[in-house]
Symmetry: D2
Subunit: 361 residues, 4 copies
C-alpha cells in the first residue's frame, strides 16, 4: 500500500539509491522451510550485473547478495528475508553537470517538482540500480514456485529490429550478450548497439517473458487479475512504456473466432487449447498455458548527444549525460522482467491457496 512495496501476501519492499552505500530488499510472507542460500540468488544477479561486456554500462559492480535474516540452517523461517547488495563503484563526480540541468526523458524535473529537491547522483532512487533488489527478491520467489514452473526473459526486438520467430532457440538466449533467442538477430544487434554507442545515442527494445508450467487457476476475475498484476509489475520497471499479454495489441486486430483459443480434449483426456492468443490468462485467471508478457522499453535517456533543456535556476541550456550508461537498458531488463514474473506468480500462488485452500500444480 505504500510507495516501495509490491505484492499482496508474498510481498517485497526495496530500498536504496544508485550512489548510497548499499541497496536491498525485504521479502515478507515467504513460505517457511524452503531451502535458500545466497547461491540460489546470485546467478540471477549475475545475469543482470553490469560491466560484463561492451553492450552494457561499464560500471563495475560485483552485486554480491547477502542474506541478513529469515534463513536458519539453510531454510527460510517464514519471517522477513532481508537481502543487501553493496554499491562499490560509485563515481558521483560524473554527475556534477546534471545536478543543475534536468535530463530530458529522465525523472529529474518531475522528481524535483514533486519532492522539492533530489539526489542527482546517478538518478538517485530513479536509477535502474534499484532493479538489482528486485532480481534478488525474484530469486527467493522462484523457490516458492512449483518446480514445474520455468521462467524465461529474452529480447524479441532491439532498436526496431525484430527477431525471426522461425529462428527461436531457447538455448541461444544464453549464448549472446542480448538474451536474444535468434542467433542471427543477435549478430545484427551487435552492430546496432555498437553504432548507437559510438554515436552517443541509445536504443529501445522489446522484452518477452514467458512462464512455462504455470498451473491453471491463479488470479481472480476483477482487481487481482493475474494480468493486471503483471501489467503493474512490469510497468514499475524503469523505462518500460508498454505491456502486452499474449497477442496484446495484435489481438485488437483479430476477429472473435480467430482470437478465441479453441479447446479440445488431449490424448490424456485433459483439456487442451489449440492456440494461445490469450497468453495463458483468461478472465484474469491462468489457464495452464504458457503465460506470455511483452514489454516495450524506451531508449536510455542518458546519452552523449546534446538535448535542449533547462536548469534548476531557470535558464535554457543543452545537456550531455556523461557517466556510465547502458546504450540499451532493454538488454538488462530481461532478467528484471523474469524476476517480476516470478514475484507475481509466487504472490498469486499464495493468494490462491489462501482463498481456495488448494495448492495447484
Amino acid at each position: 500500500m505504500s510507495w516501495n512495496s509490491f505484492g499482496r501476501v508474498f510481498r517485497f519492499t526495496t530500498w536504496g539509491e544508485s550512489h548510497g552505500p548499499a541497496l536491498g530488499v525485504v521479502v515478507d510472507g515467504c513460505p517457511p522451510g524452503l531451502p535458500l542460500t545466497e547461491a540460489d540468488i546470485q546467478p540471477y544477479l549475475d545475469m543482470r550485473r553490469p560491466g560484463q561486456n561492451r553492450f552494457t554500462t561499464q560500471r563495475q559492480e560485483p552485486d554480491q547478495v547477502r542474506i541478513l535474516s529469515g534463513v536458519f540452517e539453510g531454510k527460510t523461517t517464514g519471517t522477513p528475508i532481508s537481502l543487501m547488495i553493496e554499491n562499490v563503484d560509485q563515481r558521483s563526480k560524473d554527475y556534477g553537470n546534471i545536478a543543475e540541468a534536468y535530463r530530458p526523458g529522465h525523472a529529474d524535473w518531475a522528481y524535483d517538482t514533486k519532492y522539492g529537491f533530489r539526489d542527482y547522483r546517478g538518478g538517485g532512487r530513479s536509477s535502474a540500480r534499484e532493479t538489482a533488489a528486485r532480481v534478488a527478491a525474484g530469486g527467493v520467489a522462484r523457490k516458492a514456485l512449483p518446480e514445474s514452473v520455468r521462467i524465461r526473459g529474452y529480447l524479441v526486438e532491439l532498436g526496431g529490429d525484430a527477431i525471426d520467430r522461425a529462428n527461436f532457440s531457447d538455448a541461444a538466449i544464453d549464448e549472446n550478450p542480448f538474451f536474444c533467442p535468434d542467433p542471427e538477430a543477435a549478430k545484427r544487434w551487435e552492430a546496432l548497439v555498437d553504432s548507437a554507442r559510438k554515436s552517443g545515442s541509445s536504443l529501445g527494445a522489446v522484452v518477452e517473458v514467458a512462464a512455462y508450467g504455470v498451473p491453471a487457476g491463479l488470479g481472480a476475475p476483477i482487481y487481482a487479475k493475474l494480468d493486471s498484476d503483471l501489467a503493474c509489475a512490469m510497468m514499475t520497471i524503469n523505462a518500460v512504456k508498454g505491456v502486452e499479454i499474449g497477442d496484446g495489441f495484435a489481438a485488437a486486430r483479430l476477429r472473435g473466432e480467430e482470437n478465441a483459443d479453441a479447446m479440445r480434449l488431449g490424448a490424456d483426456g485433459k483439456p487442451e487449447f489449440l492456440a494461445n492468443h490469450a497468453g495463458g490468462i483468461l478472465g484474469g485467471i491462468s489457464t495452464g498455458q504458457d503465460v506470455v508478457v511483452r514489454i516495450a522499453i524506451k531508449p536510455t535517456s542518458s546519452i552523449l548527444t546534446p538535448v535542449p533543456t533547462i536548469t534548476r535556476s531557470g535558464t535554457e541550456t543543452e545537456v550531455v549525460t556523461k557517466g556510465r550508461h547502458d546504450p540499451c537498458v532493454g538488454i538488462r531488463a530481461a532478467p528484471v522482467a523474469e524476476a517480476m514474473m516470478a514475484l507475481v506468480l509466487a504472490d498469486h500462488l499464495l493468494l490462491d491457496r489462501a482463498q481456495c485452500g488448494v495448492t495447484r500444480s
Copy 2:
C-alpha cells in the same frame, strides 16, 4: 489488497454479477465536502449504457445509479459512498447452453478450474456489466480532481482500421456511436461493425484515454508509479490485452535523442516540453503534460460463429454464444477507461498530498 478493491487512499470496491439483482460499488476515502448528487454520476453511466444503438448489446438496462450513503445535504461526508445499480433486463435462459460448454476466449474454463463451479449466467462476475460500477465510482473521482483536469476516452482503431490523426476532432467524439474523434473513420466503422455483427463475428479496438490539465508531481519513483497504477487499472478492464503510456511500443523503436522530450522555458518563464513521447509521465511522476494511455481490447469472445470447445462433463463440442452481446466491446470501453483514469488520478492526488503536504494544481 483484496480481490475486488482498487486504490490506495481513494479506494473503491465493486460487487455484483451480470444476472444478480443489482451491482454496485463502495467508494472509500473520498474527501469530505464535495458537492455530489446522482446527477453528477448518471451522465457517465449513460455514456456506457447498453442498448442505445445497433452497435452495442441490445440488453436494455436503464443503469440508474442510487447513492445509498456518504452524502448529506448534497455533499460528501468523508464516509463511504455506496452506489447501487439494479439489473433489470436479465435473460438467464439465454445462457442454458453455456452452463455446460466452455466458451473459448472467455473466463469460463479457468474460472471453473479455480473455484470448482461458476455462475454461468451472463458470465457472472466476469461479465463486463461490472464496469458499470467502475464508471459510477469514476463519477465520484472526477469530483475529487482539480477542475483543470479533463479526461477523454476515444477509439483510435477498430477492427484494425486506425483513425487519421490529422482528422482528430474533440467534438466529433460525442457525435458518433464509436467515441471516434475522426468523423471519416466513424463512417467506415459503421460498415465494419455491421458486417461483423451480421456474420456472427466480433472486432477488437484500441482505446486512447487522455487526461488534460493533470498537475505535475503525481506518482512515485518505484512501486506506486502513476504509470504502473494506470497499467494495472486499465488491465483490470475486461478484454484488455495491452497498455501503452505515451509512445508505448513505438518508443522502443526510437533513438534516445528522439524520445527525450526536450525542455525549454515558455513565454511565461515556466518549463515547457517540446514533445510528449513520454505521455505525461517520467520516472513514474506526472510532468504536467497530457497523460496519454492506450489500451488494446480483444474482440468479443461471445460470438455466433461456432468454435470448437469442450464441456464440463468432458466431451468435445462446438459452442455458439447466443444472448445479447456487443459486437465490439471496445466501444463501450471508452467511458470505462475514462473512469479508471479518473480513479487513479484521484488516488494519486490524495497519496501525493499525504506525503508531500501540498495540493497541486
Copy 3:
C-alpha cells in the same frame, strides 16, 4: 488499508449511516463453495437487533439482511458478497437539538473538526447501527471457519457489577437479555439497568468473547499477530476503550512462573497446557487453547442527564440527548464482538494457509 475496510485476505468493507436508506457490507475473499443463505446470517443479526426488550433502544428495526451478490445456487462463488440491510425506523427529527450542540462523550465535535460538517442524524456514520453490517459479515466468516470453532460473546461485568465465575453457565447466556452467563448477576443487572434508564443515565460493561476449538498455528510473530489484529478489531467497535487477551492487565501482576502456562503431554500423547493465562495466543500465534478476549465498553454518551457543552456557533449550553438509545451499549456489543472474532479468525485462517500451505484443524 482504507478507512472502512478490515482484514487482509478475508476482507470486508462496510457502508451506511444511521439515518440513510440502508447500510451494508461487501465481504471479499471468501472461499468459494461454502453453503450460504440469508438464513445463515439472520440469527446473528437477530441477536443484535434493537427493540427486543426494555434494556435496549426502542428503535424498531427488522434488520432483514439481503444477499445481493456472490452466491449462486446456495453457495459462495468466490466473488464479493454484498449484504444490505434497510433502515426502516428513522426519526431524524429527534436529532434537531444536537445538530447545533455537540454531545460530550460523542464523536460530534471531533467529527465536525475533521470533516468540516457532519450528518448529525443519529450520529451518522459514528452510529452503532454500523455494527449491524459487521454482524452480517461475521455470519459469512463463520461459514469459512472449521466446524470445530465455536464463538461465544457474553457480559462479565455491567455497571461495575461483575459476574461470579463460579456461576458460569454457557446455557444461561441465551436465557436473559444481557448475554450474561451468571443467572444471579443477570437478575441484579435488570435492576441496575432499569434504574440507570429511569434516571436518564447509562452504564458501561465488560464483554468477554471466547473462541473454542481454534486450531494452533494462526497468526504471526510480529505485525500480523493474531492478538494485535483482535485488539484492532475490537477497538473498532463503538464505545470500546480497552482490550485484553487472556489475563490481560491482571497478567502484569503475576510473576513469571505463575504466568507461564506449563505444558504436559495429554493421555493421547498430544501437548496440553495446564493453564490458559495467555488466552490462547503466544508470540502472536494461536496455541489451540481457547482464545479469550475482553473489551471495556464505556457508558452510552447519549443520555437524558444534561451535560455542559458548546454549540457549533460557539456558545455554551447544556445538552440532553433525546432520541432512542441503549442505556447500556455494552449489551448489544456481545454479538458484535463475536462477529469481529469470527472475521479475524477467518482472515488468519486464510492468511496462514497462504503462507504455510496447510489447512489447520
Copy 4:
C-alpha cells in the same frame, strides 16, 4: 498487508532475528525535506538499549543505527529510509537447552507448530530485539510530526505496585532506571526487581504513553480509528496483553454523565474539555486533548525458575531459561511504546491530510 509491515501511508517494515548478523527497518512514505541524521535517531535507541544497569538484560549491544538510504545532504528525500543495527553480542550457545524444550509462556511451541521448525537462538524473530528496529523507525516518525507534539512513555505499575499519581513528575521519568514518574515508587521498584531477579523470577508492568499537543482531527470513524490503530500497534509489542485508551476498563464502571467529558469555551474562545476520560480520542478521532494509552506487559517468560514443559521429541521435562534476560521486560517497553505512538500519529497525520487536504496543528 503482509506480516512484518505496519502503517498505511507512513509505513515501516522490520526484519532481523535476535542472533542474526543485524536487524533493521525500512521506513516508507516519509515526507521529503525533513532534516534527518543518525543523531536524531540514536537517543531513542539509547533509551531502549540493554545492559545499562542491573535491572535489564546484561546483553551488551551498542545498538548503533546506520542510515543506508533515503537521506541526501541531511534531508529525507521521500524515498525509503533503510536503517540497520548490527547484532554484536550474541551468545547462541546459551540457547542449547531450549532448542529441544519449549519454554512455557513463550512463542516456542506455537511457532514450531506453525512453521514446522524455528530459529531457537534467543527467540529468533520472536525476540524483543526486534523492537530496536521500531524504536529507530519511531525516531524518523517524530520528525514527521508537528513540533508541538511531545510523546512520553513511563511505567505506572511494576510487579503490581502502582505509582501514586499525586507524586507524578515528568522530570523524574529520566532520573531512574524504570522510566518511573513517581520517585518514591522508583525506590520501591529497585527492591522489587532485585528480589525477582535474585529468585530467578520476573515481573510484569503497566506502561502509559501520553502524546501531548496532538492536533484534533486525526483518525476516522470506523476501521481506521486512531484508537484502533493504537491498540493494534501496542499489541504488536512483545509481551503486551492489554491496551486501554483514556480511562479504559475503568470507564466501564462510570455512569454516562461521569464519563462524558463536558465542554466549555476557554478564555481564548476556543473549545475546552473539562476532563479527559476519553484519552484524547472520541469516535476514533483525536480531540486535541492528551492522547493517553496504557499497556499491560506480562512478566518475562524466560526465567531461571523451572517450569514443567515438553520437548520437540515428545517427552515431559522442566525447563530453566539461561541466557541473559530482562527481569521485567516492561521497563524497556516504555521507549518502544513511545515509538509506536509516534509511528501511528505520523501515519494518521498523513492519512488525514490525504483525505482532508489540510495540515493540522
